[in-house]
Symmetry: C2
């Protein structure tokens, strides 16, 4: 099923990571584990310590995914000057703050200084490539490569071409992320929030409503999700699930019966909560009750271990792909 | 973590399954595999053939879950007269059509003829126990035990007490489903669709919107879900996921930053699709493209195998619980 990654990655010897925050460090760790040298560009004075600490934190997960993690930092350098940082790389992955003007300035500098063959990708979750590229001379080169956090673990990368992004750039991006062991998905239109975050927003609105209304607690709602739709959607998405829910008649039968009942009986009564003071106080109190016993870092490590066990069970760890080649 | 199931199940020797459709057969298979004798009440003339065929179909899944499936049908009988069917059982699980008057009639007959100690549960996904019990002399005995389809595989059972359901009945139902190896969750209020189906409805509305708008195909959307939010929510629900997404500050920090951006920027622009002719035609065509290569039964078997691999990886197969006792 998966393409052999090495031939593609042979063309990616050096990467520039712009912005060494959580997303940037995660990309850096994955790139390094795949044998790509990384130069981090970030204006902060303590960026080296931050990135090294971040790498140490994610190394066990990379290791559990079957990726090599010895001397991970050997291929890592830092360069505070953006033009210099991108001057000799094959891929630029930008993870700067979500401010349009800032990203426009960054990308104007990058396109003037990066090699002509380099893949130019932004991790933005909210700004369309079309808008960022307005200030570029070669808008056809810029593409959104939006990871689902954290990029070194969760397979999805949403590839969102801008209006002027070239087909060649789309193909280049898709091949690169697939070679990294990710599951890239090219969107056919630019829409606010792309796809995964829109779906998260839709369900979370109802989650907040149900907790605010006192139907369930946060912990109870989470338990409901993990023991039903969560485990379903880990093995098949909503359309496949409802296709199978339609019996021999599949999705058309589902729509005709349960879909129409959903449209008339359920969609109109779904909640429209707001993050007013009372709701935020309730959500905060319940989060303390449900999750306050451990630090976020401990809970995240526990979650990631379970995540990897699940991915192994479904044959979806990237290390498995690399190991075959 | 899980209670030892045997002491509770010792009190459940015989069950009546009202309605031998897909849900009824699934409950019957699980009850039989747990050593509970089952009498099926269903007016259809060919009900014996239907139930036996259904049991044969789900036996491999029960087996893969670690449950005994030899001579599954040995404990199975059929009784077309409802009063007789429930006269000597410890649990009645009703899976009749979703029509209030019909369910009211059924439950009037059941309460007059079932033993006083029997647990009385309806699998309804849409009718509140309060409404069904209006016609009962002992409304405190009726409770919703709504499974997520199929009950023999997916752990969740939503327990929804009606306004007059007694606390004793709630406890009895929770202990029974837990002893079966399920993950029962008691809702604190009756709301239309309960919780899991409301959440499914909320996300599916946006799924239909994104496909109808041409942002992604059904197959692409499903791939996005399985490779991101699906695998996340299999190991931790939306609140835990966003608690961890908030970094050291947890959920309060998430709400203050990403939650408020969701409220102002995303919730207002989520889609409001309808199942008009063009949308249904598009969804039907895409389902044929995406899933038409195999029968629903083949796809379901494949899905269930993956589901069980996932549950094993997360240590959540009911057989594992039974095996420890």
């Amino acid at each position: 099923m998966s393409p052999t990654p090495e031939p593609v990655l042979d063309s990616y010897k050096r990467a520039a990571i712009i912005g060494g925050g959580v997303i940037g460090v995660s990309w850096a760790g994955l790139f390094l584990a795949r044998g790509i040298k990384v130069v981090v560009n970030d204006p902060r004075g303590d960026i080296e310590d931050l990135v090294l600490a971040g790498l140490a934190e994610i190394a066990p997960t990379l290791d559990a995914l079957g990726l090599p993690t010895e001397n991970l930092a050997a291929g890592l350098t830092f360069e505070a000057d953006l033009a210099t940082a991108v001057s000799d790389v094959d891929i630029v992955q930008e993870n700067g703050p979500e401010r349009l003007e800032l990203k426009q300035r960054i990308w104007q500098t990058v396109e003037r200084n990066a090699p002509a063959h380099a893949l130019l990708a932004t991790s933005t979750s909210s700004i369309p490539a079309t808008a960022i590229a307005e200030a570029m001379r070669q808008p056809e080169r810029l593409i959104v490569g939006h990871p689902f956090n954290p990029p070194h673990l969760v397979p999805l990368v949403e590839i969102v071409p801008g209006e002027r992004t070239s087909e060649a750039t789309v193909h280049q991006a898709k091949a690169f992320y697939a070679a990294l062991g990710k599951k890239p998905q090219v969107l056919r239109k630019e829409v606010p929030g792309f796809v995964a975050n829109r779906l998260q927003s839709a369900i979370f609105r109802e989650c907040v409503h149900l907790v605010a209304e006192g139907v369930v607690t946060e912990q109870e709602l989470d338990d409901i999700v993990t023991s039903s739709i969560g485990m379903r959607w880990a093995v098949g998405g909503p359309f496949r699930t409802f296709h199978l829910g339609g019996g021999p008649g599949g999705l058309p039968h589902f729509i005709e019966h349960l879909g129409r009942a959903m449209e008339s009986g359920m969609w109109p009564v779904l909640g429209n909560p707001t993050f007013d003071d009372a709701t935020v106080a309730e959500l905060t109190d319940q989060a303390a009750d449900a999750f306050g016993g451990s630090s976020v870092a401990e809970l995240a490590a526990e979650r990631d271990r379970a995540q990897i066990a699940l991915m192994r069970a479904l044959g979806e760890t990237p290390g498995a792909v690399a190991g075959q080649a």
